[in-house]
Amino acid sequence: MLSRLFLRDYRCFATATLALHPRVNIFYGRNAQGKTSLLEAVCVLMRLQSPRTSTKSEWIRFEASTSLIEGTVNDVDLRYAQNATVRRLAVSGAVCTRSDEYLKNTALIVWLDHADMNLVRGGAEHRRRFLDFAAAQMFPEYRDALKAYERSLRSRNYLLKRDDVIPWKQVDAYAVLLQKHGSVLRRCREALLTALEPHVVAVQQHLSGNTEVAALSYARGYEGDDLAAVLHERRAEEERSRSTVAGPHRDDVTLEINARAASAFASEGQQRTLCLALKIAQARVLEEARGQAPLLLMDDIFGELDKARRQAVLTALPAESQIFITTTFLDWMEQTTLNGHCYEVSNGAVEQRL
């Protein structure tokens, strides 16, 4: 649970201090006031990455040189400072040089926003990113394996493109590494999808009023168990395409509703529900695997759901989760039943209203 959040020179916030509620925290205000930035700050503090950008210097406030995010998570003080080139991490006031040591002290998170539609409609990279984000929080070995895999893949693809005559011996040296790290990725993704499936089915059923049956399956990026051997066999193909033709970077997840491909045959509403189901399932799986309920960061997704669905979503979420919601209007919210805090965000200032 995140009990305190402090920001300095982060995005549009000069300074902001928030004492957070253990259950529900709602940020409301007009567009472009900094609501999503607050959720982003929580995500950065917990995962050292932002769902909005990969350029870290982007979140330093205009005219400032260093941005600072602090938070108290399960009574541990975390601190993240970023200037144009360097980031500094601290846990309980002590500098932490290794990100995996830092991440051991953070809370689990699930991020929900409009872009989730890409899970169903977008390309396979969106589904792989979903798997990566969840698996990195579930399996301690995943993050290192992913980094090593991506670096090996970049090197290998570069070698395949660089010369007229491909230096196969060097290329093969990297295929061994792809096999080694790729097998970790596959094992974790398999386990993750197996854990997700029953929850996705249950949540889809729950949200659709028992009319929709969802299914998901792992579309593997290479056949068999030996990626190095597969790549060796498909050498002619690689010679033509000049890139690595098989591996977990070609993984995908097949999504179906009522036994038909969700991307092509499901309605807009069904697709939206499936995306929600995937994220809610992610939250439940993380809770099961790690024994603590994740924080749910929901960026502007409640406004467009009807009352019945909203209620269904809220009951499907893990009961112990701390929830952060951004919204532009509060009409949908029955304020009498709110068990939490409500903050108004206006032009880089946050004020608690309820």
Partner: protein, 202 residues
């Protein structure tokens, strides 16, 4: 208005200092100013040390370690060393680490780096031809690849193993796993994972 700055000679020296690894513009400036002020007496010593570096120190053509010019390499010509073993390392400094461990008494071979296509380091930049030549000449029985466990180190090890296959010598690499004298709680998950997959029968 003209800007006041250091004379060209000083600027040049600062630039030179800055090009050394680990020194930024501020530290380079501070060093140069110190040399001109309180450290003046040390300038002579420094000049002498730098000149003798070039005059007296050479790199052994066989193993790639440092040696005194005109003398035999202390490693390659030591009769007590086991000439059937060859340990391949990335940098000369790695030899000292292995020597201090006292666990190894064979010969060494310095590669001079590791393969990294993204940094444009190719096999031609490393002493790989020399290594294969030595293995054939010395009839080495075992080549130990003591390279880093990062992506580039592992890729280099895989590449070398492939290149050495023709010599039919045994090829090994350093184990990864538990640090000496530590409990399980001091080991990170990745290391523990590797230690577990590389476990040994008692």
């Amino acid at each position: 208005m003209s800007q006041v700055d250091y004379p060209a000679t000083i600027k040049q020296l600062i630039l030179l200092m800055k090009s050394l690894p680990g020194l930024g513009p501020r530290s380079a400036e501070r060093l140069v100013l110190w040399l001109m002020g309180r450290g003046e007496s040390r300038v002579g010593e420094l000049i002498e040390a730098l000149t003798s570096l070039e005059e007296r120190v050479a790199i052994c053509e066989e193993c790639g370690f440092f040696q005194e010019k005109g003398h035999d390499c202390l490693l390659c010509h030591d009769p007590k060393r086991d000439r059937r073993l060859l340990c391949v390392v990335e940098e000369a400094a790695d030899i000292l680490k292995l020597e201090r461990s006292g666990a190894y008494s064979g010969l060494y071979h310095v590669l001079g780096g590791k393969l990294s296509p993204l940094d444009n380091i190719t096999p031609a930049d490393l002493r790989i031809e020399e290594m294969i030549h030595r293995v054939t000449e010395l009839h080495t029985e075992e080549v130990i690849l003591a390279l880093g466990a990062d992506v580039e180190g592992e890729a280099t090890a895989n590449y070398l193993a492939d290149m050495l296959r023709v010599t039919e010598t045994a090829i090994t690499r350093l184990a990864q796993g538990m640090p000496a004298g530590g409990g399980l709680d001091h080991v990170d998950e990745m290391t523990l994972y590797q230690a577990l997959s590389g476990r040994r029968k008692l």
